[in-house]
């Protein structure tokens, strides 16, 4: 019996010729990741267990991104703990203020993760790296602690759901619309414990940034991981970033899938998830008039260069609607610099938006854009749960950067075409 991409990567890292769904394996890891919220808990567990050394100081990435530059004394204490641990164990990929970016934009950009890798991260959006043709999944701090010591972890091989993509996206329709459409179709637990494999000619028409956005949000359908085949766009992206050798895996013709869906990309419309679940999607004819107070453009889902470029294209020459606040958050220093040099920041600032240093901040209701009672926000982030960005009675509408920018200008949920 043939194998899916996920099964091939798992087999290779478990030292097995083949694996099948539901099999329990012990697999070697290429990268173990943590951030400033999850790493302190992992470090406590690591030290409580009496571990003295990390398995490999070049295969652990600790990225301070959720609450930095530190928002308060407690978060400063947490980052201090991770900083000291990194120094003690000579962690090569430790990223602090000045070098840090949002972890899931940063690691691919820095070439730390690559095709064929087996990666765990104590952050649920670790699944983002599936865009590169890697197996990547989120875990908790205890698993992170154990893996920092041993360099391996146990897994149950997931069944794979295949998404056959055909056609090509229309202008301004992006990976965000695709993944929200899919979550709406299968539900927030529609891929629970499953791998989501994206296949077909439609994949090749999409940019790497679109693929990162899609892989990033498979967790919002409950998936263990999302995965893309490697093509020329993947290789071009890794070129100049990844210095180590990488492995390309493709699915066998006779690989078995637990379910298959066909999606014609040319039929995807602007898609927005209404409060309070990512599956609660609506296309423009059902939006109605949703007056908004704030727009956030950024996050591990949509804080890459093309995201900000799309938003700026819509926003160019316009002013924000009265009473609307717009916060732009480039995901990494590289994205920040490129936006600055290309004049994209001028467009945002002239429109009345603010530019933040890279941070997860408002996406998880940490800081830098918290919502008050009754406020409505259009965000390019990934979750619109109750209280996610602030007050339990605030509302979040998940959208693409182009829709978010149009909404900021018109003061209500709007499509780019409505901006004259």
């Amino acid at each position: 019996m043939g194998m899916t991409i996920t099964e091939k990567i798992m087999a290779a890292h478990a030292g097995l010729a083949s694996v099948k769904p539901d099999e329990l394996i012990m697999a070697k890891l290429d990268i173990v990741l943590g951030n400033d919220i999850t790493s302190p808990v992992a470090i406590n567990e690591f030290e409580k267990a009496g571990f003295e050394k990390v398995f490999d100081n070049e295969k652990i990435a600790l990225v301070m991104d959720h609450f930095v530059p530190c928002k308060d004394i407690k978060s400063a204490m947490q980052v201090k703990q991770v900083r000291e641990f990194s120094k003690k164990h000579s962690i090569k990929h430790y990223y602090d203020v000045g070098k840090m970016g949002i972890e899931h934009a940063l690691l691919p950009e820095q070439g730390i993760v690559k095709a064929g890798d087996m990666i765990i991260g104590a952050d649920s959006h670790t699944c983002t790296y599936g865009a590169l043709g890697a197996f990547a999944t989120g875990v908790g701090s205890t698993d992170m602690a154990a893996s920092m010591a041993t360099g391996e972890s146990w897994f149950k091989v997931p069944h794979t759901i295949k998404f056959n993509l055909t056609g090509k996206l229309k202008p301004f329709i992006t990976g965000k619309d695709v993944i929200l459409h899919i979550i709406g179709m299968i539900g927030v637990d529609g891929a629970r414990y499953r791998a989501m494999e994206f296949a077909g000619e439609g994949v090749h028409s999409m940019s790497m940034d679109d693929r990162f956005t899609i892989a990033n949000m498979v967790i919002e359908a409950g998936a263990k991981n999302g995965i893309f085949p490697v093509d020329d766009k993947t290789r071009d992206y890794m070129s100049g970033r990844v210095t180590a050798k990488y492995n390309e895996y493709s699915a066998d013709e006779d690989a078995e899938y637990i379910a298959e869906y066909n999606i014609n990309l040319s039929e995807i419309e602007y898609t927005v998830a209404f409060p309070h679940l990512p599956e609660n999607i609506k296309t423009p004819e059902k939006w109605g008039i949703i007056a908004i107070d704030q727009v956030v453009i950024g996050s591990c889902t949509n804080g890459r260069y093309s995201d900000l470029y799309n938003a700026a294209t819509v926003m160019k020459g316009h002013n924000l609607a009265d009473g609307v606040r717009c916060i732009i958050i480039p995901a990494t220093q590289e994205v920040y610099k490129k936006c600055m040099n290309d004049g994209i920041f001028d467009i945002f600032i002239d429109a009345g938006a603010v530019i933040s240093t890279p941070t997860c901040g408002p996406c998880l209701g940490g800081y830098m854009g918290i919502l008050a009672d009754g406020e409505k926000c259009v965000a390019t982030t990934n979750r619109n749960f109750v209280g996610r960005m602030g007050h339990a009675k605030s509302e979040i509408y998940l959208a693409s950067p182009a829709v978010a920018a149009a909404s900021a200008i018109l003061g209500r949920l709007a499509t780019p075409e409505e901006v004259k």
Binding site: G140, R192, L364
Partner: protein
């Protein structure tokens, strides 16, 4: 091991943001995390819950973020076991790793009501509803998982195993 307690009932898709909002993730203190447990779905939960009480919920309990603070806050609040129709996978793994007892049982999830008094037996998976005089059966965990929970977490179970 039998656990008896009063039920707090919740619906489907209880996410980790309502279990413990990120604004409280600047601490690892278990008691402090417990004081905010469930605050955005039931702001009175943390003050009402007593040691041994039980959470019963619908499908996909614990969806969302990987924050281990979520099962930690539930456990530190005194909750002895969480019963749900299904659990989100990261929460499921985290709960076991930190030693929070969980059981998956569709029938229990549907028939148990808020305020019922129930007992659970993790070794057999038997759930007894004393209030309604009913029994439901969850698939019990294999012995090694029961051992992790009885050792109060994965790291502790390794330490116990090494002794």
């Amino acid at each position: 091991m039998n656990k008896e307690g009063k039920v707090y009932k919740f619906g489907d898709n209880v996410d980790t943001d309502v279990i413990i909002p990120a604004r409280y993730l600047n601490t690892q203190d278990e008691k402090e995390l417990a004081s905010y447990c469930m605050i955005d779905i039931d702001s009175t939960f943390a003050s009402r819950v007593k040691v041994g009480d039980i959470i019963v919920a619908g499908s996909n309990f614990g969806c969302g973020s990987s924050r281990e603070h979520a099962p930690i806050s539930i456990k530190a609040s005194g909750v002895s076991v969480v019963i749900a129709k299904t659990f989100a996978r990261i929460f499921y793994r985290n709960a076991i790793n930190i030693g929070l007892a969980i059981l998956e049982c569709e029938e229990a999830s549907e028939k148990i009501n808020d305020g019922d008094i129930i007992t659970t037996d993790l070794s057999s998976g038997k759930i007894t509803n004393i209030t309604r005089n009913e029994c439901y059966f969850a698939e019990p965990f294999p012995a090694f998982v029961q051992n992790i929970i009885s050792c109060n977490g994965y790291i502790n179970s390794i330490k116990v195993g090494l002794k």
